[in-house]
């Protein structure tokens, strides 16, 4: 199944009827010439974003997420491939003729204009009647809670306020889609968390498609309906936040989103729908991969919070491995254990401090780690 089909189906599922996606990228490639060499920033992205969706492009810096967004906005022309907005090919349409607006990373507010003039800029360029401008700008400033600050200059405002001006300046035009390029990057943690909730609220209120570019996985998980995890110019996985966290498709996704343990080995046997990996003398990892055959190499991920620590050998059809605690870190909400297995691999385990804050294991203890078969995921590469 290709990305474009996945997107279309998600869109249909959302509305119950076939619907043209708000944004479609079809085999989009972007090449640059740098020092006489062709560099591919985006190596072929195909995806569809549904109307009204909160969609995130997530990845480390240099993964091509910003370039992808700039091609949607019209600041960059794809080397190959097609960009469609509501079914219409806009690949070569300049940004001022596209019905999408952007919130820039550093806000890019017009420094010589007041808040009011900043927000009214797009409407004025579209020759909207003055009375209508007055009404819509006023309304929008109310939504972003900036009433009474109309006459301020951007430099007289805090980062959070500037951010809201940038949001209002884009949203007041009622674009078919809003593109946000790391809009919260410059804010401190508290404000960032408040703005995440605020953004989600505004998106629900205006019902506009949001495309959100970020390298912050928690931001993407908190706000998005769906996330495309990008790496090295390609989409590694496109799914809901839960799916991406619980069932990472690749080792990159598993490593980039949250903390993850990677265990590699060969399939020992397949029994009752589970492939079984042998780890050490007594260790076993069960993973729901019936199609594997004995001897196949396999990599399995498991999240630290799914693992239970015990001193007794666990029984039953569960994964269980033996190791020695090499580090215990108290983190308030939970304890983090580093457990070294016999083969040298290190496994991270989180255990919540729900009952008491005393640790179940100390440094140097020999322990068993166990988890349910459905918490193991075999990954592609």
């Amino acid at each position: 199944m290709t990305g474009i089909q996945a997107g279309t189906e998600a869109a249909e599922a959302a509305s119950g009827a076939p619907q043209v996606p708000a944004i479609e990228l079809d085999g989009v490639v972007k090449e640059y010439l740098a020092h006489g060499e062709v560099v591919q920033a985006v190596k072929g992205v195909t995806l569809a974003i549904a109307e009204g969706e909160f969609f995130s492009l997530l990845g480390p810096s240099g993964c091509g997420k910003t370039t992808t967004m700039r091609m949607v906005a019209g600041f960059e022309e794809p080397t190959r491939g097609v960009v469609r907005l509501h079914g219409q090919d806009v690949t070569n349409v300049p940004p001022n003729k596209r019905d999408v607006n952007m919130v820039f990373q550093s806000y890019a507010l017009f420094p010589h204009m007041s808040v009011w003039e900043n927000v009214a800029f797009g409407l004025r360029r579209r020759k909207v009647a003055e009375a209508e401008i007055k009404r819509r700008v006023g309304e929008m400033l109310e939504i972003v809670d900036l009433v009474g600050r109309e006459k301020r200059r951007p430099r007289e405002m805090s980062g959070g306020q500037q951010q809201r001006v940038a949001l209002a300046r884009a949203l007041v035009n009622r674009p078919r889609a809003l593109l946000l390029d790391e809009p919260l990057g410059a804010l401190d943690l508290k404000l960032r968390q408040a703005m995440q909730i605020e953004l989600k609220r505004i998106q629900r209120e205006v019902g506009i498609t949001f495309v959100y570019v970020t390298h912050d996985q928690s931001e993407a998980l908190t706000m998005s309906d769906r996330i495309a995890v990008m790496n090295d110019g390609l989409v590694e996985q496109l799914a809901s936040p839960r799916e991406i966290y619980e069932r990472p498709a690749t080792a990159f996704v598993a490593g980039f989103i949250g903390t993850s343990n990677l265990l590699s080995g060969a399939v020992d046997r397949v029994e009752s729908g589970c492939a079984v990996l042998k780890l050490g003398e007594h260790g076993r990892v069960l993973v729901a991969e019936a199609s594997r055959q004995a001897g196949d190499p396999i990599s399995v991920t498991v999240r630290p919070e799914k693992i239970t620590i015990s001193t007794e050998e666990p029984s039953g059809d569960i994964s269980a491995v033996r190791g020695t605690v090499s580090e215990v870190v108290y983190l308030g909400l939970y304890n983090s254990y580093a457990v070294r297995l016999a083969d040298g691999a290190e496994v991270t385990v989180f255990q919540q401090n729900a009952l008491d804050s005393t640790s179940t294991a100390e440094r140097g203890d020999a322990v068993w780690l166990s988890w349910q078969p459905h918490h193991s995921y075999a990954i592609g590469s």
């Binding site: 600041f75 001022n96 952007m102 507010l109 420094p111 204009m113 360029r125 035009n173």
Partner: protein
Amino acid sequence: MRRVRAAAAPYLLALPAWIWFAIFFVVPIAAMASVSLTTGNLLEGFQQTFSVSNYAKAVGQYHTQLIRSLIYGGIATLIMLVLAYPMAYWIAFKGGRRKSMYLFLLLLPFFVSFVLRTISWGFLLADDGILFGPLKSAGLLPADFHVLATDVAVIGGLVYNFLPFMVLPIYVALERVDPRVVEAAYDLYASRLAAFRRVVLPLSLPGVFAGVLMTFVPATADPVNARILGGTGNTMIGNIIQTEYLTNNDYPTASALSFTLMAVLLVGIFVYARSLGTENVLEAAAR
């Protein structure tokens, strides 16, 4: 004690500049003001009479040259603005990695003396010089065609000599315009023209303001271009001041002329700053 010394540090560091300013600016200005209010001549000596007759003479006798200087300076400044803005724009936005080379080329003429360069222009523009001589013998220009000793030559010389002082401040202002702000304008449906008019131009106005100041004032007061490239009908106020000082040794009149010129320029700058240098202009441009 340490706190006191720390607080005094910035003032101590600025002290050499203040001393320099006092010796080479405040004292001469005061001396000149005093001389402009004396009467007498070089042989019999000058007496401090606090008479303003020198000012009456300066304005009454030389208002033609004063007005001519303002017109020449004004026209030269306008031409420089028209030439410099596209130049600065091109270097700032299209210069790419060669920016510093273009700026160097712009400043290259400064490696030759101001007077020498102006004299070279005199040779170039001479009636039978290397430019017009061959054209005239070829019959392409009438025999009585001339540029030297006309207002065209003087204004041209002023434009040539002061152009970099217009380009540089405008370049600096344009260079500081965040390209993302311009992108934001395009994103908000502005055409290229609208993005320039509403965003780039207003943001570069401080540079235009500085450029006009740095060219209009010295161009208006300049004696060199009028003397070398101009004729008897192109004398500027700078030439008059020079003659009064150095040839006629009429120091009171020369001082009064200098003060009159300074006053006119200061008033002009003040009016200009009020009309263009304030944020009200930016506000109007935003609409």
